[in-house]
């Protein structure tokens, strides 16, 4: 009790004395949330006191809010339409839909403005969509001024979908309260909820009192500063965190709660790791613990110290797959099942990835609607680096039963097999489809950064990443900011690279198109000085026949650009006598031939011998050898024969 009282005192002093004075970020918002979970009707009854700072240079007459849960209100919302609901014949039961309704909205002491709330559709004009609303204020907020709103709302939770909702008694309560948009460049940046999009919000302070039936185990963003039992059989948990831009929580009676501490000396990190593991998945707990430790260590050492006092990992209940793998500040959902083999590293990958979003999304608050690669792509790059560091590059995804697959190879597959429709840099709802969104924003962007790393060198790239984090943490950077940092740190003009890799759907594919070697034929025919055709008599005035060079071979290496993307290339040519020659090509033309007249035949040629071109969609044509063949075809043919013969012998009727 004493401990709780001290915590309450601490929070009260923080909120009363230094509202909007967050430690690391400029606090634009302050939320004081109260929520009561009513499981019997799958509803959260809530209220919030929101204080918003007008950080712009002009007055702001209206406020805009995200009402994300209305994306699940019916099959006409923009989210549902983009997810193909119009073509779907399946009917969702009534209890599966979700919504959020603003009951009242007022400036303290003022009249209720809820009835003036107007749903707007800035992205697509879909009048059925109710995920963005605006309200005209009685008086504009002056520059540097603040406005406080008191809002009451009811959030009806959907059957778990896209990061929020319930399954059985498991609740993931995300995007559940009216959240104000970002006012920047003299306008509101407040997008509708799209099929692919994630989120964007301003930093500030969040305090939430969460009341649930007493048997529920609760986890939430931030640090728990108080808890109390209520007379009506409920418990109230109070959480607080500053320097964040969103707040989510979870409740489930089947959670088992574990606490561990993570301490790192350099850089200084001290944080409490909280694990809410569903009782069906207790066997996975140690893997969660280990991988979260790895995540905190890797990101802290490479980008900057993890600054928050807690990090909460939520293991969703069986059947709540759509709740898995989602990030919120200091709080994320993992993903696993009871019988995930130890060598299949999906839980590790998801844990490290979602934790990593505390950096790329959490602390570096890029706009996930408009430039999703800045969080997903950079985080995929970071996650690959972490997974390779802890599990080995050739087996970071799977190391099970002799099967070894690295994450780079895994990410490459989606890029290799992709179409050429969208660039990485695009509004999240502008992609031709969900797969184009995910392969560009996650895999291709991650591979683009790996290619950049190979170009700049690992130490320079590490400095780029650290500088970008340090420069832009608790702010809202854009792609241009990232490019600027990369150019400043490396001292190189990288516009040509990002212009192609980031802003164009072009593909990168270079290869050795031809490799040949032959002994140079002896001189034959007419030469200066009247030397005759071979074997004939000398003619007056003809030059003597030049002597044949003994054992001279011509070798030709032809390299080609099959894709549209232009990338300077290095070619390694190896001769039979062991000599190696490195050639450089600007890669601009469609092809280039290198010719050698030497005493030794060429043995092989390889383009991009250092494997820099992670974006190359066909690495199979990157090398060529003279004596083709070898036992590889026989080896795999024999393997195929074995399986096919076995299959035939088994299925004979």
């Amino acid at each position: 009790m004493r401990r709780t009282a001290v915590r309450c005192l601490l929070v009260a002093s923080v909120l009363a004395g230094s509202v909007l004075e967050g430690g690391l970020a400029k606090a634009i918002v302050s939320y004081d949330l109260k929520a009561r979970l009513r499981p019997e009707i799958r509803t959260v009854e809530g209220s919030e006191t929101l204080t918003w700072l007008n950080d712009s240079g002009g007055p702001v007459p209206e406020l805009r809010f995200h009402l994300y849960l209305n994306a699940f209100r019916n099959n006409r919302s923009t989210f549902m339409v983009e997810r193909g609901a119009l073509a779907s014949k399946s009917v969702r039961p009534a209890e599966d839909w979700g919504s959020i309704e603003v009951k009242s909205l007022r400036v303290p002491g003022g009249k209720d403005l809820a009835s003036t709330l107007e749903f707007i559709h800035p992205d697509d004009g879909n009048t059925d969509d109710r995920t963005v609303a605006r309200v005209l204020l009685p008086t504009p907020v002056p520059p540097g001024g603040r406005v406080t709103l008191e809002i009451e709302f009811v959030s009806r939770l959907p059957k778990v979908i896209a990061r929020s909702g319930y399954v059985g008694e498991f609740y993931l309560v995300g995007q559940w309260f009216p959240k104000i948009g970002v006012f920047q460049n003299g306008a509101w940046n407040c997008h509708q909820y799209h099929g692919n999009s994630e989120f964007y919000a301003d930093y500030g302070l969040f305090k939430a009192e969460l009341t649930v039936p007493a048997q529920y185990v609760v986890g939430a963003t931030g640090k728990r500063v108080a808890e109390r039992a209520n007379a009506d059989g409920t418990k109230t948990y109070t959480h607080y965190q500053d320097d964040i831009h969103d707040f989510a929580w979870t409740a489930c009676p089947d959670f088992r709660e574990f606490h561990e501490f993570f301490v790192l000396e350099d850089p200084k990190v001290e944080t409490e790791m909280i694990f809410l593991v569903h009782r069906a998945h207790l066997g996975i707990k140690d893997r969660y613990v280990r991988s979260l430790r790895q995540g905190i260590e890797f990101y802290s050492r490479n980008y900057g110290a993890y600054p928050y006092p807690t990090i909460t990992l939520v293991d969703p209940a069986p059947g709540a797959v759509s709740a898995g793998g989602m990030e919120y500040p200091t709080f994320f959902t993992a993903d696993s099942t009871s019988y995930m083999p130890a060598g299949v590293r999906m839980p590790e990958m998801v844990t490290i990835h979602e934790f990593g979003h505390n950096y790329w999304y959490g602390m570096v608050g890029s706009n996930e609607f408009e430039e999703a690669w800045l969080d997903e792509g950079i985080n995929t790059y970071s996650e690959i680096k972490a997974m390779d560091r802890y599990y080995g590059a050739d087996r970071s995804m799977i190391d099970w039963g002799g099967l070894r697959i690295g994450e780079i190879a895994y990410q490459r597959l989606s890029v290799i097999g992709s179409g050429r429709f969208d660039p990485i840099l695009k509004s999240s709802w502008g992609f031709i489809g969900p797969s184009s969104y995910s392969l560009n924003v996650y895999a291709k962007a991650g591979l683009m950064l790996l290619t950049l790393e190979k170009m700049l060198g690992e130490p320079v790239m590490a400095k780029v990443m650290r500088t970008y984090f340090e420069t832009w943490k608790f702010r809202h950077p854009t792609s241009r900011d990232f490019i600027r940092v990369a150019q400043d740190v490396s001292g190189r003009d990288l516009g040509w690279f990002f212009g192609q890799a980031l802003e164009s759907p072009d593909k990168l594919d270079y290869g050795i198109s031809d490799l040949r070697t032959y002994e140079i034929a002896p001189p034959d025919g007419l030469f200066e000085g009247g030397k005759p055709l071979s074997g004939g008599e000398a003619r007056p005035g003809a030059d003597p026949k030049p002597p044949r060079a003994p054992g001279l071979f011509r070798s030709e290496v032809t390299v080609a650009r099959y894709g549209e993307m232009i990338f300077p290339q290095e070619i390694l040519v190896t001769f039979e006598n062991g000599d190696k020659v490195r050639e450089f090509w600007d890669g601009r033309d469609r092809w280039k031939r290198f010719v050698y007249d030497q005493g030794s035949r060429v043995r092989s040629a390889e383009i991009d011998p250092e494997g820099r071109m992670m974006l190359d969609v066909n690495s199979l044509n990157n090398s060529r050898v003279i004596d083709a063949g070898g036992p590889a075809a026989m080896k795999f043919g024999a393997g195929l024969l074995k399986w096919f013969q076995g299959l035939l012998s088994f299925i004979a009727p």
Binding site: P318, A632, M634, A652
Partner: protein, 360 residues
């Protein structure tokens, strides 16, 4: 004979018929070789000159293989089509082999193998083909059984939080489907045996009787089937151990692995012969109750003789004079009239006294 003795007899029969094993193995190999040629051709055309191919010969790198798979869509499509076509061809061929196996096992032991095997294949082809088609009907009750089983398991797993239980129940579903598949295969085996032994042309009726035969002796038929199945499993495990031990990085090692594969396929072919032999012996033992007897087929009957035989069957005038083994067996024996084309010879393999092989 006991089930174990029947299984041993089946294995001995298989071992004593190397020519038949050879033919079955060859059939399997010939069906598979085109796929090998297609694959190696495509591999060499697209990757043969690549330096990656050399690396793959030395070490199987799944990361590279996945990339090959991803970039080789058309070639893979061709391979899959070829595999499906070859599988279909093999299925048709196996119907021929099944006739040959039964003719060789049940026919004249003194006759040359080739004439017995290939004449049996041709003789029974049409009937076994129809039988295979009719056997698809068995999937209807099997499907219904599976639906019932699935419903029961779903009721057991009403709590989605019991994920471990759910995992085991998924395995149980697979196991049940596997068991149904093998039950149908076993029924088809006995239906073929019945057709061959009785030289029956009414294959649909024989399939129905085979169902009754199997269900009437479910324990023993399954025991025999899975006893030999265990032998197959042992062969598979042995093969897997030996195959895994081969490095396959040099042409010689790859060749050794290829040879090992062929030995494995030959062993599986032998096991198939053993299975048919043991099941045929079990069937004949059951209908004749003459434990230890061996039987062989008569020559193809004339249309008149077949009609005559069918007429006798319809009359049901003849009774099997055999020991009583229970009501079910009795009913089966009532049904199994002493077909004139099923002839006995004594345990020492002497030729039957009323040999009708030469009948037209």
């Amino acid at each position: 004979m006991t089930i174990l003795a029947l299984a041993v007899k089946g294995l001995r029969d298989a071992v004593s018929r190397p020519k038949m094993v050879f033919v079955l193995w060859l059939g399997n190999l010939l069906a598979a070789v085109p796929l090998y040629l297609l694959f190696t051709g495509a591999f060499n055309a697209s990757l043969g000159a690549s330096g990656l191919a050399r690396g793959l010969a030395a070490k199987t790198d799944m990361n590279v293989l996945l990339e090959i798979l991803t970039t080789s869509g058309p070639a893979i499509r061709d391979l899959v089509r070829a595999a499906l076509g070859l599988t279909l061809v093999y299925e048709f061929a196996w119907i021929f082999f099944a006739g040959g196996i039964l003719q060789t096992l049940l026919g004249d032991a003194a006759a040359p193998f080739a004439s017995e095997f290939f004449s049996g294949g041709g003789r029974f082809y049409g009937r076994f083909f129809r039988l295979t088609l009719f056997s698809f009907l068995l999937w209807l009750p099997a499907g219904a059984l599976f639906i019932v089983f699935d419903g029961i398991l779903s009721a057991v797993q009403s709590d989605p939080n019991r994920e471990q239980l759910g995992f085991f129940l998924v395995l149980a579903r697979y196991a049940f489907a596997f068991a149904l598949l093998h039950l149908i295969r076993m029924i088809l085996d006995y239906a073929r045996i019945r057709v061959a032994v009785r030289d029956s042309r009414d294959v649909f009726a024989e399939l129905g009787r085979a169902v009754r035969f199997v269900l009437g002796r479910l324990g023993r038929t399954l025991a025999l089937y899975y006893l030999l199945g265990l032998a197959g499993l042992a062969i598979l495990v042995l093969f897997w151990i030996l195959d895994s031990a081969l490095p396959k990085t040099t042409p010689a090692a790859i060749l050794a692995a290829l040879v090992l594969t062929q030995v494995f396929i030959a062993a599986r072919s032998g096991l198939r012969i053993a299975s048919q032999s043991a099941q045929a012996a079990f069937y004949l033992q059951e209908i004749k109750t003459g434990g230890g007897k061996a039987y062989r087929l008569a020559a193809p009957a004339s249309a008149g003789a077949a009609q005559d035989a069918r007429g006798k069957m319809d009359q049901g005038s003849e009774k099997i004079q055999a020991g009583v083994q229970g009501d079910a067996d009795q009913a089966e024996r009532q049904e199994e009239k002493p077909d004139q084309r099923v002839e006995e010879k004594d345990q020492e393999g002497q030729r039957p006294t009323n040999d009708k092989q030469d009948q037209p």
